[in-house]
Symmetry: C2
Subunit: 249 residues, 2 copies
């Protein structure tokens, strides 16, 4: 018996335009190696036939991907796949931003975008083992590697215990280094919950994405080695640039 391999037709009047669907198909084809880096795509006419749409619709899709920096079109020659490997971000017991991307990138750092003190919401309070409404410090950060944004995170810390962590973070550019100032030499990831959704307007701006992009979302709790919760965080990763590699916890 033969399994159906990607019937791969497109959906009309779905709320997602055909050009967007085809752009996604091309991205997927690149991701699985059907279209190879630094080689030409099939001609527009062929793609139009393959996907069962008009050539102009294919052109709209290609145009969007050229904007996104995935393809380069050259009149008379063809349309070429630019190289853009996805970063593989490790998630495990000792998940650290910078060390996790060593070897894949030459440069990476965290930028502190904003910070504030606020009462803990239900889930933050639960995660940190605090009373609802207790004061917490929120740090909004963006992770960048080789000049490209690869993550956008919000982290919450108990305000009383970690007063001044915002300044430490701005100065050091590292969560690990900032926590060290409060006597935290090591911390472990207690839990990670993962989901995915379309990027909202904030994601688009923060992560330099195009409308319709997908973000991976992790909600995690970090604890000291003896199990004391110190950080609750929600991170967003652009799915087109990052994959998450789950390592031993």
């Amino acid at each position: 018996m033969v399994g159906r391999l990607a019937a791969d037709s497109i959906e009309r009047r779905s709320g997602v335009s055909l050009w967007r669907q085809i752009a996604d198909k091309i991205l997927h084809a690149i991701a699985i190696g059907d279209f190879v880096e630094n080689t030409a795509l099939p001609p527009e006419v062929v793609l139009a036939e393959r996907y069962g749409v008009n050539r102009h619709t294919v052109r709209s899709a290609i145009s969007a991907l050229v904007q996104e920096g995935v393809l380069r079109a050259e009149q008379g020659r063809g349309t070429f796949v630019l190289s853009r490997k996805r970063l593989s971000y490790p998630i495990g017991a000792r998940t650290r931003f910078s060390t996790g991307l060593q070897g894949q990138t030459t440069e990476r750092h965290i930028v502190l975008l904003a910070s504030s003190i606020e009462p803990a919401s239900q889930r933050v309070a639960e995660g940190l083992g605090l009373a609802r409404g207790a004061e917490v410090i929120r740090l909004e950060t963006r992770g960048e590697a080789d000049g490209r944004p690869v993550s956008r995170a919000a982290g919450w810390f108990e305000a009383r215990r970690f007063a001044g962590i915002d300044a430490a973070m701005a100065e050091t550019g590292s969560i690990t280094a900032s926590l060290a100032r409060f006597g935290i030499d090591d911390y472990l990831r207690q839990s990670t919950v993962l989901s995915a959704r379309h990027a909202d307007a904030a994601d688009l701006a923060d992560l330099d994405l195009q409308p319709g992009a997908i973000v991976l979302v992790t909600v995690a709790i970090n604890v000291t080695p003896d199990g004391q919760p110190i950080q609750f965080s929600e991170s967003r990763f652009p799915a087109e640039r990052v994959e998450l590699r789950l390592s031993a916890l």
Copy 2:
């Protein structure tokens, strides 16, 4: 300083229609508890103003979600959120479909959709430690819980060692039970790589999704306790119905 909390505007001419974006927003709002199960949504006029679109556009979004079984509209009364909690699928060293969903569901099983023998592709061969082109058995399966599809997976096994595993799978409806027939009493997850993308036509059909839906994708390798690779798999989960909970590996 104050961090921007979800500017949450909508994107025009993005390839995703406004009604689809608003439908996604409503789903998200339900997911994070802004809209509560079994209570009414704000009136259409209010939603239209909040999202900055015409009332009719909001109605299109609501109409789609009614079709998807997320909402129920009652003339004169309001539009209500039906209950549909996301399943939390655990991923860890001993990831098992059925046991992982115990407690959250009353019934779950795996359906064998198709099977075939084929030469190993590059990545499958690498994952299983075989020569490229070596014969492998592919099992196409769907996981269902309480009558709803929650996963769609392809699993590859070395053909010589696991000849007949397709029949075993069809009979037992369990990977674990099928492997037991080949003397595999225990197996561990060696690696998991996670990504997300839009559902393609096959996903839409297999997982009973609407166009524009997002799927979480895991690529995993299972090994015997002494490290021998036995299964390479790629699974897809509907992000609107499933979240992945990473537990200790």
